[in-house]
Symmetry: none
Subunit: 197 residues, 4 copies
Amino acid sequence: MSERADVKKQLILDKATEVFSKKGYRNVTMKDIVEASGISRGGLYIYYDSTEEIFLDVLKSMDAWEDEANKNMVERLKEASSAELLLWFLKEQKKEILKGKNNLSIAMYEYAFSCKQEGKSSGAKHKFETAGLVLEKILLRGNETGEFACDDIKGLASNMMYAIEGMKVIAGTVGISEKKVDKELVYMMRQFMEVEE
Amino acid sequence: MSERADVKKQLILDKATEVFSKKGYRNVTMKDIVEASGISRGGLYIYYDSTEEIFLDVLKSMDAWEDEANKNMVERLKEASSAELLLWFLKEQKKEILKGKNNLSIAMYEYAFSCKQEGKSSGAKHKFETAGLVLEKILLRGNETGEFACDDIKGLASNMMYAIEGMKVIAGTVGISEKKVDKELVYMMRQFMEVEE
Amino acid sequence: MSERADVKKQLILDKATEVFSKKGYRNVTMKDIVEASGISRGGLYIYYDSTEEIFLDVLKSMDAWEDEANKNMVERLKEASSAELLLWFLKEQKKEILKGKNNLSIAMYEYAFSCKQEGKSSGAKHKFETAGLVLEKILLRGNETGEFACDDIKGLASNMMYAIEGMKVIAGTVGISEKKVDKELVYMMRQFMEVEE
Amino acid sequence: MSERADVKKQLILDKATEVFSKKGYRNVTMKDIVEASGISRGGLYIYYDSTEEIFLDVLKSMDAWEDEANKNMVERLKEASSAELLLWFLKEQKKEILKGKNNLSIAMYEYAFSCKQEGKSSGAKHKFETAGLVLEKILLRGNETGEFACDDIKGLASNMMYAIEGMKVIAGTVGISEKKVDKELVYMMRQFMEVEE
DNA sequence: AATGAATGAGCCTTCATTCAT
DNA sequence: TATGAATGAAGGCTCATTCAT
């Protein structure tokens, strides 16, 4: 693929990401993406054959970005304190939660749901598990350095991930306030560390 | 509306519930409901004007059922122990989580999401909050009777509800095992009571 | 299928026959048939899913008609003279040849060709062979009654059928005059019987 | 036009001939020819503006080739016996018949048919008549030399041409065996000469 | 000349909704 | 009320043709 094509694809992905964030997965038509990206109907088909293909590429590009972020974080494990990393991790999660109807969560759920219907794999599992592992690593390290005090790291990490997932969904549907998110995150942190209000 | 009409409506709702559980919200067509309910295309329009109207009625009938259940539970608060009630509550939640792709969660998320787009209210908020309040009541009472030991009931109830919500979504999309659900529930309970394995 | 549906289907077939006769097979779109039959786009899909399906039904209805005609002719073998039957047979062929661009031949060739591409059977073979057998029967009988004098009936029938087929194609493409057709038919008949000019 | 352009055009014609033979006329797209010829989409338009233009050029180049062949044959009339020439002529026809779905006949019929619709001339008539004249010449000469005995040369030539045309069509659609073609040709020849089996 | 990405018209198909019976 | 045939709008896809490079 030529460089020019890559630029075009990136434009499509950027606009498509907005569309999927606003409309979910199922409700998005090729026409939507055509109109959002300013490309002609036929032109879009040069690069992608279906909304599914585009959606998967959107996820892939996001995964690439997240993998990068996670790698950076693991690097930082060596220098930064666990508490700092945890704060960074939760801040990222908070950001995503608060994007609310502008995040891809609902689209991903819809997609994963339709995949399940058809017995396909959606990749959502991997994404969810990876984030859980990162959290585990941070907690484990914090326990070792004495920053945290937690006797069931796996259980805690899992609980936090599900609660965060729940907040994302609630944020994307009925909505959630920043204050509420903060409260939840503080509640979680109190289970294993001192938190000043 | 005649009694006969009510019977017909109930039939439609029952079958529509199955359809929405299996296919989500957006993906459901009038044809799906027509075929599932065995009623003619035109006949369906006598009772409902759109899939949205049907879906809202499905939610309403479920709410009615749940309100009833909650009322019963509050009644039982007087006779049963808080621990018993909590177990019953969590068992209900577990059941719903494990229904996985056969529960209405995804359809509700899709619907709530599209409502948010259009500024409508979906009723999902009410449902989520009601369940939270029930849990709160149980925990409060347990604290009073000394069965539970929890110093932030609101925070705990909220955390549990989000984590449960997260599990529902994960169950409906990437899937979750019963064992995993049990683990999560036990983890939650350990925060305020003794749990034997 | 209800009677009403049959009426509708017949209307579609009648109009579609005109369309296929005028435009061949490949060049016909659902839109053409929709416009010719005065039915809505969606309405057509209730009865037929593709132009191929319609075309096959057109052929089937013609076959039914021809089978009937052949059966009648075989009946008449008992009473009529072979010469009379032969004249009738050739008159039928002549009629079809002269329909020229209004006959289905070209559409059938196109269809049979595309079937061959895909390894399907088109039914054209059967039609061609059936007509040949009818001719053979007439010639055989004429030989027995002394009306005809032919020492290679199979060869003759085959030759005549190919020549007639050739005329149909030429008529449908470059065109042919009635006089020319008559000349050809007389030439054929002279091979085995007396023909007055 | 430069010589280089001629080379390019010839390449296009060669490849296009294959395509039209395989897919008929209507079913051929610019893309097919682009892919077959290895020339770019835009490049093709430098030389030809439509598939029709290409197809006409394909026919023209074939005509040129055949005219050449016919002229050669007429030349040979002076040296070779009529029987030899006839055999050569029929062998050529047989070859073309047996090419079956790889000959241009169907494409020509499709094209001629669509021309007739629009009142254009397709050139198919000329081709058909030219071949008939060649056959006539051979038969006439054979009659003069006493090799053949035929009292209606025009009628015979015409009959043969139609039968051959019929075989081409049948070969391109439902198929025909070599043995069957031989039988037909022998049957024709017996009408005016001795043929050993 | 040559390339191939881009355009947009046109056909295919589905489905919410209407309406004669 | 109930039916299901009919409608037409909307979205999917392909392909002839153009155009910047």
